[in-house]
Amino acid sequence: MLTITLLVAALQQGAPVDSPRAQVTEGAAAASPEAPELRRIDLAEWRVHLLPGEVDMRFARIPWEPTFLDGVRRASEQERPLLLWLMNGHPLGCT
């Protein structure tokens, strides 16, 4: 019993109380996946893995204007209509 108690105590000391590994979600202790070991030798591979690829960045091919007014001005200059497509969310919210 003493061995088991010590083992449990040791395991609990492994994660701070505010760590995901110490969290309980929706009434059940969730198994926390270990983050892959971050090694300097793998940094270039992680960069490629994390950065958006060509398909991810298709939206950037559109010549966006920074504000709606800039778009209206450009539409007026070109005498063309402007399509306004709105979505809810914070303007800086990366929705």
Partner: protein, 258 residues
């Protein structure tokens, strides 16, 4: 619907089609006007990660944001001179990363952390090469943040109606080149891998309370995109709107926020 709209537009006179000159007023405030000229502008990518790590295909759940530090803030973090082996404590950058940038937004809009919610924010640069004023540092660090139900960042346009507990912890590793004479970063290549749990109202984690893995990459950018949480930087070098952005008309300013 588009066909109808185009038909109606075709029926307008030329004057009606063009922008009313009286309406051609520049916005009174744009957050990107706070872009830190001569300082640090960082592009930050977040992406969901599989437990298989690099063995898995990259998740298509990713997002981007920016992080800013002013020229003065960077200058205050960097030494006048450094030699191989010198360790630089990049505390302000670590704090800003932990509070505002290493957040769980890979699936949607999320919330930042208050300083009191950051249990750990550490970023150290160890000098590995010196070439005159140019210095190469290997970066390493850790962050850990946990938010409870109480919002601690005051009345802001990010103030949530309600909040659920969530948190994230990350390990960071990377490289940077610094110009100690110019007091600036010449390059930055920083990776963070971490574990997130819980959810915020709009971050797409309603049925995915985790814990699960997320990754981040940070590098310098010249894009003048404002950081998501620019309004919460609490610095005087980012101009704030005269009228809070959630009350931008007299009628709205009389409304109680619910």
């Amino acid at each position: 619907m588009l066909d109808t709209a185009l038909k109606r537009w075709g029926e307008l006179s030329k004057d009606e089609r063009l922008l009313d000159p009286e309406a051609d007023q520049p916005p009174a405030h744009r957050w990107e006007d706070g872009f830190p000229e001569g300082g640090l502008a960082v592009s930050r990518i977040s992406r969901d990660l599989s437990p298989e790590g690099l063995e898995a295909s990259p998740s298509n759940r990713w997002n981007r944001d920016t992080l800013w530090c002013s020229k003065e803030e960077i200058a205050a973090m960097l030494p006048e001179v450094a030699e191989v082996g010198t360790e630089l404590q990049l505390q302000l950058l670590a704090d800003r990363l932990a509070q505002l940038a290493l957040v769980d937004d890979a699936r949607g809009q999320t919330l930042p952390f208050a300083p009191a919610e950051v249990a750990l924010a550490r970023l150290v640069g160890r000098v590995v090469e010196v070439n005159g004023a140019k210095v190469t540092v290997e970066l390493s660090g850790s962050t850990r943040a946990r938010a409870a139900e109480t919002w601690l960042l005051g009345d802001d346009n990010w103030t949530p109606r309600r909040r659920t507990p969530h948190g994230i912890e990350c390990e960071l590793l990377g490289t940077a080149t610094l110009d100690l004479a110019a007091r600036s970063f010449d390059s930055l290549d920083l990776v963070a891998l971490g574990t997130r749990w819980g959810r915020t109202t709009f971050n797409g984690r309603g049925k995915d309370l985790g814990p699960s893995l997320v990754g981040f990459h940070l590098t310098l950018t010249t894009d003048r995109l404002a950081p998501t949480f620019a309004s919460l930087y609490g610095v005087d070098w980012i101009p704030r709107p005269e009228v809070p952005t959630w009350r931008d008309s007299p009628a709205e300013s009389r409304l109680e926020r619910r």
